[in-house]
């Protein structure tokens, strides 16, 4: 390499210097630690005993126990030591764990049905929102629709105020329609909120796909719907994945409507978790266990779709 070339790399505007790279790397790691630490703390707390969980100074090293998880999944009653001594010997490890604290298991807790509710409502509304959003976005992107701009603005305008602002009317409406505390009601509500986001995001993605692709398919013998399914959708996968994640995160985490509209049958995890705190003292390990469980599906979903997500979020920034 010539002297001139060496000098030019030292001042390159494309390649960062090793020092800059190290600094940038350090910043990224610092940020990761700051964001991941609370999560790790929750995961750890789930394995602590109740006294370790509230110990001061906080315990980083502790003896792990599954009590938090056992408490999360069961309902227990407090008994006198005499009564417990008279019982037949415990059949399972969790019976034993509970009896040490002078309690017996009375039955399973509601966490599993609540978790199933969250899964059904979260994924159901995400699927519906993305499905409807894709069809609407395709139509807006490809067809001459009268008043298209006004319609798009109207769709967006549904997101201009916080959804909770209409909580009371929706509550009254749901009561009339017998939709309160039903999974269908929650799916419809979350779909309604998400579909505007889905239409706008997906329209951007579909606009980027040249129409020639589906026109070629139309000329070659496909119907409009076949062309959409076999030609447009495979290319919009990135956008659909990104949109699905955004929609799922919203409906998965939604708290205000869930508190207001569900209390039993259709209750989701967000209103259920604080409910755990109230049961027999502040059971932080059980809350942490519930939170850990609650985070898992979103993390898995995001990890599964991550290769689409990175391109999805920055779409349009760089043309392929």
């Amino acid at each position: 390499m010539t002297a001139a070339a060496t000098r030019s790399t030292a001042h390159s505007i494309v390649e960062a210097s090793p020092r800059t790279k190290a600094f940038a790397g350090g910043l990224v790691i610092l940020y990761a630690v700051i964001t991941i630490l609370p999560l790790l703390w929750i995961v750890a707390t789930a394995f602590k005993s109740q006294s370790d969980a509230i110990a001061y100074p906080p315990k980083v090293i502790f003896e792990p126990t599954l009590e938090g998880y056992v408490n999360l999944f069961t309902v227990r009653t407090r008994q006198t030591p005499d009564f417990i001594a008279k019982l037949p010997p415990p059949e399972t490890w969790y019976d034993k764990l509970v009896r040490k604290r002078d309690m017996v298991i009375a039955g399973p807790s509601k966490v599993v049905p609540r978790f199933v509710n969250s899964l059904i409502i979260g994924f159901g509304s995400t699927f519906l929102a993305v499905f409807l959003g894709t069809l609407a976005a395709y139509a807006f992107s490809r067809f001459r629709i009268p008043l298209a701009d006004d319609l798009l603005f109207f769709i967006l305008s549904t997101r201009m105020m916080p959804p909770v602002a209409v909580a009371i009317p929706i509550y009254l409406m749901y009561r009339q329609l017998n939709l309160t505390d039903t999974r269908l009601g929650m799916i419809l509500l979350y779909t309604a909120v998400n579909v505007s986001l889905a239409v706008w995001l997906l329209k951007g993605f579909i606009d980027e796909i040249p129409r020639e692709y589906e026109e070629a398919a139309l000329v070659d013998g496909y119907t409009r719907l076949q062309a959409l399914r076999k030609v447009v959708l495979p290319q919009a996968v990135t956008g659909i994945a990104a949109t699905a994640i955004f929609c799922l995160i919203f409906s998965w985490n939604e708290y205000a409507f869930a508190v207001l509209l569900t209390s039993g049958e259709a209750q989701t995890m967000p209103p259920f978790i604080p409910f755990i705190i109230g049961e027999g003292g502040q059971d932080w390990p059980a809350v942490a266990a519930a939170t850990t469980l609650f985070v898992v599906p979103i993390v898995m979903f995001t990890v599964l779709l991550r290769k689409h997500l990175l391109r999805g979020i920055t779409f349009g920034a760089v043309r392929k």
Binding site: P210, Y213, E215, L218, V219, D220, Y222, T223, P234, Q235
Partner: protein
């Protein structure tokens, strides 16, 4: 293979009329080019023939059958797009076989047809490649393959060479014409590049502002332009226009051009005095001291075999194509002599060519 007939075809989008009332026939096996500047309606016309756009008025007939409102898929026509529109999620072979798959053909038969098509285009070795790895020319061949594999009634091509670089475009022009000669399919080719149209087409339709200005062979369009627009659009540099005012009488073989008499092809129509233009191609100008028009040399552009010399005259700037050996001094005053039998006359008001012995029988759109 098929004959395509367009009758009074019109297309408007809201206030804007993209194509207005053109009527023409594309004969079976013809390589038909639609040529014009961007926004002239050539692509819209093509898309209406394909069924990707519905006309506002008029009819499209394929082999005598009215297909105006048939779905694109029902017309048995292949379309080649400027951006090739190769599906990025399929490899070359799958792309070529796609139209057959749409028709539900058996897999083995598809494979045979794809092989055969690839052999014809000399891209057999690429069948299992990803389309994103191909060069521009190979992409173009794959796009053509996808069009050919179905053996459609007609090929419609929308600036298929527009995305290629100049050198390659020239090569592909040759290949396309060669391919057409082998399979003899009716081809409608849309382009804004006159060289592509001139070098490949049997017939050229020159379009402007939604109207077909002229339809003819490349020679007709070049030698006997039907309007000032065609004369100006085709040829590089374009035809020179020298304005004058005067009347014309059928049978005359000369016109009064300002103060002089100029020999022209025999005039075939009578005209009251009106603003007219004398059209002369750069290659039909000679420098001669006795020339009817005098001017001062403004500049010369050397092109290898010829040179383009621009001359400022009293009637405007004129470009002349001279042998590159001719020595020309800038600023020198010279006389221009025109080849009388190649001159054209136009009515400036309407832009139309005036009928003369050389511009007789020109087909307007």
């Amino acid at each position: 293979m098929a004959q395509i007939r367009i009758e009074n075809l019109r297309k408007s989008f809201d206030q804007f009329t993209a194509v207005e009332g053109s009527t023409f026939t594309i004969d079976d096996g013809t390589f038909f080019a639609m040529l014009g500047p961007s926004g002239c309606g050539k692509t819209t016309t093509l898309r209406m023939i394909a069924g990707l756009e519905l006309p506002t008025e008029g009819k499209i007939l394929l082999d005598g059958e009215d297909v105006t409102f048939h779905r694109a898929a029902a017309r048995d026509i292949a379309f080649v797009f400027q951006l090739f529109a190769l599906y990025p999620h399929m490899n070359v072979g799958e792309n070529i076989g796609f139209p057959l798959k749409c028709q539900g053909m058996a897999r083995r038969e598809i494979r045979e047809r794809v092989q055969e098509t690839a052999r014809m285009l000399r891209i057999e070795h690429l069948l299992s490649s990803k389309t994103s790895k191909l060069s521009g020319g190979d992409r173009q061949r794959v796009a053509l393959g996808r069009a050919m594999v179905r053996r459609p009634k007609a090929f419609l091509m929308d600036e298929p060479l527009g995305a290629l670089d100049a050198e390659f475009r020239h090569l592909m022009c040759g290949e396309l014409r060669d391919l057409h000669d082998r399979i003899k399919a009716t081809t409608v080719y849309v382009t804004h590049d006159q060289l592509e149209a001139m070098s490949m087409a049997d017939q050229i339709a020159v379009m402007n502002k939604g109207r077909v200005e002229q339809i003819g062979t490349p020679q007709e369009v070049y030698d006997r332009p039907a309007s000032m627009f065609v004369a100006d659009f085709i040829g590089s540099p374009p035809m020179n226009f020298l304005r004058f005012e005067g009347g014309l009488r059928s049978g005359d073989r000369a016109i009064s051009f300002h103060d002089t008499r100029l020999a022209v092809p025999e005039i075939r129509e009578d005209r009251a005095s009106a603003p007219l233009a004398l059209g002369v191609r750069p290659e039909h100008i000679r420098f001669a001291d006795a020339g009817a028009v005098r001017g001062e040399v403004f500049g010369a552009e050397y092109l290898g075999t010829t040179q383009i010399v621009t001359v400022d005259t009293a009637y405007g700037r004129v470009a002349a194509r001279l042998p590159s050996s001719a020595s020309v001094q800038i600023g020198e005053t010279i006389g221009l002599d025109f080849a009388a039998e190649r001159l054209a006359l136009f009515d400036i008001g309407s832009g139309r060519a005036i009928r003369t012995a050389s511009a007789e029988g020109v087909r307007h759109g």
